[in-house]
Assembly symmetry: C2
Homo-oligomer: 378 residues x 2
Amino acid sequence: MSFTLANLPYGIFRHENDHPRAGVALHDRVVDLTSLELPGDFAHPTLNPFMAQGPQIWKATRARLKELLANGPAGTHYALGEVEMLLPFQVGDYVDFYSSREHATNVGTMFRGADNALNPNWLHIPIGYHGRASSIVVSGHPVKRPSGQLKPGEEPPTFGACKNLDFELEMAFVVGQATAVGEVVPIEKAEEHIFGVVILNDWSARDIQKWEYVPLGPFLGKSFATSISPWVVPLEALEPFRVAGPGQDPRPLPYLQQTRPGNFDVQLEVMLNETVICRSNMRYLYWSMAQQLAHLSSNGSALRVGDLCASGTISGPSKEERGSLLELSWGGKEPLRLNDGSERKFLLDGDTLTMRAWAGEGEARVDFGQVTGTISAA
Amino acid sequence: MSFTLANLPYGIFRHENDHPRAGVALHDRVVDLTSLELPGDFAHPTLNPFMAQGPQIWKATRARLKELLANGPAGTHYALGEVEMLLPFQVGDYVDFYSSREHATNVGTMFRGADNALNPNWLHIPIGYHGRASSIVVSGHPVKRPSGQLKPGEEPPTFGACKNLDFELEMAFVVGQATAVGEVVPIEKAEEHIFGVVILNDWSARDIQKWEYVPLGPFLGKSFATSISPWVVPLEALEPFRVAGPGQDPRPLPYLQQTRPGNFDVQLEVMLNETVICRSNMRYLYWSMAQQLAHLSSNGSALRVGDLCASGTISGPSKEERGSLLELSWGGKEPLRLNDGSERKFLLDGDTLTMRAWAGEGEARVDFGQVTGTISAA
């Protein structure tokens, strides 16, 4: 893994027994941000105070870092392998959107048939729901197989270990600028509230979810763990990769109409143990991050620094671009064959699932690093 | 309003321009807890640090307060009318359950007919979902009518001010003892994690909710505002009012089986402007607070100090015990007549909605005070 000067993602690290502190990644090093003189406030064990300073300070800090680090790591710095990466920010509210048309269509086809795959509201609303902020963990945190109520057939439900444990390939943005209750963010200002982006694995217990989710949505099928990558890539670093998203028909309501392209060309890859099982791209998202945030704020719902908004599973048009095992194995009907010859419908204890994301090449490359997790027994 | 020595609820108040601080209510006074020597830690503008000290300190602090305040307010104290009450704790995750059988049956009957009123999972699972923590406000905070996508008929959706603004009468408990990701709380220990109880108004935009909620649950129809009463009544104060809840058939799965009564006889009342429109009781809840917490924790989901868990609308068996306008006006078909001769299907701008809750009488009375809010225009 190597981070370019074009990237400069922020994280929170711990070196040996020192206090956790903020760092920026460059090449294979983490630079201690408390060792440099910067406009941003990094004297804390989370990025929240820096994010709360707002877009002008983000921009000024990034510009100054580009000067200070132009010739390589400066100030105090450590090899990435020497430090432990921690959760980069304190999460406020966590929202999980459902913004990939291909994913919603695949799941809808399996559950309701091809003719009723998309719900009537899906093409009008960036559908989302609130998830559990307390269960967000950083890459590397073990993921314990959850137990819950299961009801696979006509028999009464039983309580036991989840049998259909899945991942969901997602990207997520973190809010860096707050709003008060009752304040509405217009779409043209939505991106000003976005500090940066991480990779997110929305671990899913499909059997628990299936029995519980009507009518109030997913709850314990999701809330046992959600993993994020430790490096927050500033939205500014993604500017060279801005692209138009899929065409939107019907045309969204005015509060969701974008005046410029709102998607980003970020390549995604999922590995199950040693096998690449999915390649996708963030550009496939039907609803952009700006649309998601404008929708979230449209009723006057307060935004807080540290709010995390995930995209929903990012599936693409082809079969190998499906971003969950539910889709890849088509509900367990078409098991996946891994490089070691074994088969998977869903995740087994001991399985390691790793997601990677990056944009561009060479000196222009912006790498998100990875989010990984290993399943431990219930 | 008068608070007895049997009650001693905690809150955060501000007197004139002083810093916010913790107080306890007695008679018509608020006693500044920083002016007394106590086992609990009150040197903060939220109750979270005190709650985090755990049940033994809660118990010791309450016992000491009963001694110190046996002859009336002591230390520094102010008239309740002299102080401003603030949000009593920093909210972690906010969960809204759906635990009243009468409410679920009423709503289900309106939406799906009497034969399919309860979903198949309802009698097995304390159904719930995550709401938005950032939008929780204290009693008195104005509630702005939200805007959102509306689709009342066959025409495409439009964006505009909510027309079907409603309240939901709920009680909520706040978690005072945390758990780590992966840790499960057995039901017999569930109440040890509950610090206290407040009244909660789950303001609901029925038209926004109706169009958005399939398949991932309520989102913007709820997240614009949720109001709570400012005084947190310790669970210990409710002990004399412990009663058995409704019989549960089918018998819950073992992880939800209680070894002692888990409900509380707390009277509830809702006023719309000057008219009492609902009287209900917390004892009607089918799923108890202990069952809700045990369910929430059953998948290893982390609990944090300040997590807020609401009951869902508490409706009773009779018509005047229905805890929302949706039920009271039966979906708008049977408008309510108020004392001033006006009618209501849903809330109008300028309407003030007030909920009260109390248990017992005289010196044994435990009063929750009230949660009130006035609707302002979109």
